[in-house]
């Protein structure tokens, strides 16, 4: 009984770390540009497919595809910002949002067109199998993905605090107009943040591809939950998104175990509503 509880808790942590990594990219875009990127989940899908094709066509293990996924998505994010999103940055209301909807629909169906709607799986990743600790079984790819997620989050955190470019991004996030006055090229910072945010979710895709099936609509639930995580953590707060991701992972798993699996996502959403009722700005907003 306690063994099972521990196993659940551990698995909650693992899925939580994965959520965090997906959500951090989103919160960055959100915080800097005040844009909800509805295509975020589709970027995740692209990351997974890149990893899959590298494995299938060239036998590259997902663990080595990580930098490729990061780089390709970085470029894609940059291009999408440059040619689509930047056009509506000063537009009315949520015009940016509609653009990202359009991008999302386009990308998901382009994937169907290019790669068919079939389900894929990376057959034998280098990292496979389980670690057994008594009653607790830990999936090795999941554990590695979680460690990777923590590492990437820390790296991003350091990048934002320690480098000049990172500080510029933070400055824009805090106050756009004064950053402009300080001589920061906000347009460049926007593009960079969009690219970094996309790159992070691409990396998440590579990790996820080690143990999750891949198909064009795979991002759906992950996307929805990452919106919730970002809002729960407080928009633009990287630490907030990291903690909220783990929290949601654990709550979802334990809620499913003790209460009712059919309601496990409902519990997550309810938790969000209760939290913002008490703290409208989110946990760390």
């Amino acid at each position: 009984m306690t063994g099972q509880l521990l196993a659940q808790l551990m698995n909650g942590l693992l899925i939580g770390c994965m959520y965090s990594l997906i959500a951090i990219g989103l919160t960055m875009i959100w915080g800097v540009m005040n844009i909800i990127n509805f295509a975020h989940a589709d970027f995740l899908m692209i990351g997974m497919f890149i990893s899959f094709w590298l494995y299938t066509l060239y036998g590259v293990d997902p663990i080595f595809s990580i930098p490729v996924c990061g780089a390709v998505l970085f470029l894609l994010g940059w291009l999408i910002y440059r040619y689509l999103v930047s056009k509506v940055m000063t537009g009315p209301g949520l015009a940016q949002l509609v653009v990202t909807f359009g991008i999302s629909i386009f990308i998901a169906n382009a994937a169907v067109f290019l790669w068919s709607p079939d389900f894929r799986m990376i057959e034998k990743p280098l990292l496979a199998g389980t670690w057994n600790f008594g009653t607790v079984q830990l999936s090795i790819p999941k554990a590695i993905a979680s460690l990777g997620s923590v590492a990437v989050s820390v790296a991003l955190f350091l990048f934002l605090r320690k480098t000049k470019t990172g500080k510029a991004i933070l400055a824009v996030e805090m106050n756009r107009s004064s950053a402009l006055l300080m001589g920061i090229n906000t347009e460049r910072v926007n593009a960079l943040s969009f690219a970094i945010g996309s790159s992070l979710v691409g990396i998440a895709g590579a990790f996820l591809s080690m143990y999750y099936y891949i198909y064009p609509q795979v991002g759906g639930t992950f996307g929805l939950i990452s919106f919730c995580i970002v809002a729960l953590g407080g928009f633009g707060s990287i630490e907030g998104a990291f903690l909220a991701g783990i929290l949601i992972g654990v709550v979802q798993t334990l809620g499913g175990y003790f209460f009712d699996p059919a309601y496990k996502y409902a519990i997550v959403f309810a938790m969000y509503l209760v939290t913002v009722w008490i703290r409208p700005q989110g946990l760390m907003g």
Partner: protein, 424 residues
């Protein structure tokens, strides 16, 4: 009355012409349009496409001359009683949404002038599409939706060839009973795990209702959200309940995820009996050897070829056309065009009332089918094929092998389910 004559004349001419052509023995270019609605975009597009391929092959066989195929209308080109008229599928995408099922059925009937309808795959879409054809008085033959409620509505124009979930649930439980007898094993407890959309909850409901009747105790009743990101809590509950047998109804996404998680967490019941997702074409390529020893309900398996050479021939055609083996979905959808064409052929007209009458009189023998059934005959009230039944296949060496009913089994069932630790 110029207008009236103008309307009659073309018909009269067509009739004369077709009579002339028919008597000349030449294939008329008359076309019988059948509407086919499937989810061709969206979440389950791959399944929809698979179904469509089955139906398309059936139409090819009906339209072409296949003397060595013992299938209805295969030996002749087109429908002989209608002057060799050809069948044409008019395909429409539902995106898996019920409202599109209705709209497309209406469009196909009123704009494309189809005289019959097949398909939909998802029961919810079949519901609205068949409601529309009912209103428009067009026969609908379904061979790929499995919700029991479809044939409980008392529709006049709706017929179903394939078995439904209540039947499948019975098959599974009967298999366990037979197994107890044959192997002398004792199966006491079962866990029911089902995704909470229409399909899963229907299966769940049936199993929960029937299990006591067969003397099994349900120790876990777990419904879960489809397309989950993670299912460790569900599997955790299963481990806690520790059932002898797991019965799992899911679509393909969750089937893949659960298989992986069973292995990861070492969930080892004596048997895993499943529905639907585990037999979709994407499942085995995704899980590979981890799928071994799982048992799935089916209407079809390639190894039926052992007792039915027809199966191999049809599969060869399918493979030639689409490059892959015929899946269960494709095989199920393969039935409907034959049934509807057979009825039209016997009715000698596409007029709906006559076709319905012919459908009610359908009697296709088991030898002219790729399924292990006695035949196709519709219940006069519900319009459900009374001979439809399921088989159980087990994944052995990454192949679907028929294991039940024991008399048409291609291999012995592997029981109990080998522990994950002992597997590669």
């Amino acid at each position: 009355m110029h207008g009236k004559r103008g309307r009659i004349l073309p018909y009269a001419l067509t009739l004369l012409l077709s009579l002339a052509l028919a008597s000349a023995g030449a294939a008329a270019d008359k076309v019988i349009k059948i509407g086919a609605v499937y989810p061709l975009t969206g979440n389950i597009a791959s399944t929809g496409l698979d179904c469509l391929h089955g139906a398309e092959l059936a139409v090819d066989i009906i339209n072409g001359k296949y003397p060595d195929l013992n299938l209805p209308l295969a030996k002749t080109a087109g429908l002989p009683n209608l002057g060799g008229a050809k069948l044409k599928l008019v395909v429409a995408d539902t995106k898996g949404e019920p409202r599109n099922g209705q709209a497309e059925a209406e469009r196909l009937v009123t704009e494309e002038k189809v005289v019959g309808m097949i398909g939909a795959y998802q029961s919810a879409v079949t519901k609205t599409a068949s409601q529309a054809t009912e209103r428009l008085k067009i026969p609908y033959v379904c061979s790929d939706s499995s919700s029991p409620t479809l044939t409980e509505r008392g529709l006049k124009y709706f017929f179903r060839v394939s078995p439904h979930d209540a039947g499948f649930a019975r098959d599974q439980l009967q298999f366990l009973k037979d197994l107890e007898k044959a192997k002398g094993v004792k199966i006491g407890t079962i866990a029911v795990l089902y995704e909470n959309t229409e399909f899963g909850s229907n299966v769940g409901k049936q199993v929960l209702m029937l299990a006591p009747e067969y003397g099994f105790k349900v120790v876990a009743d777990i419904s879960y959200t489809a397309n989950a990101t993670d299912v460790t809590s569900e599997v955790g509950r299963l481990i806690k309940a520790n059932p002898d047998v797991l019965m799992h109804a899911s679509y393909i996404t969750d089937a893949i995820l659960f298989t992986k998680t069973f292995k990861e967490m070492g969930f080892n019941p004596k048997g895993i009996l499943t529905f639907a997702g585990y037999i979709e074409p994407g499942y085995l390529p995704a899980v590979k050897a981890d799928g071994n020893d799982i048992i799935v309900r089916s209407t079809f398996a390639l190894d039926l070829a052992k007792s039915k050479p027809l199966v191999a021939k049809v599969n060869a055609l399918f493979k030639k056309k689409y490059g892959i083996d015929m899946s269960e979905n494709a095989a199920r959808s393969f039935a409907a065009p034959f049934v509807i064409a057979d009825a039209i052929n016997r009715a000698r007209t596409t007029e709906a009332e006559a076709v319905v009458k012919a459908l009610l009189a359908t009697n296709i023998p088991g030898s002219e089918m790729i399924y292990p059934w006695k035949g196709i005959q519709f219940d006069p009230k519900s319009h459900q094929n009374i001979h439809a039944r399921g088989i159980l296949v087990q994944i052995q060496n990454q192949n679907y092998v028929t294991v039940w009913p024991f008399d048409s089994a291609a291999a012995k069932v592997i029981w109990p389910f080998p522990a994950w630790k002992t597997r590669k």
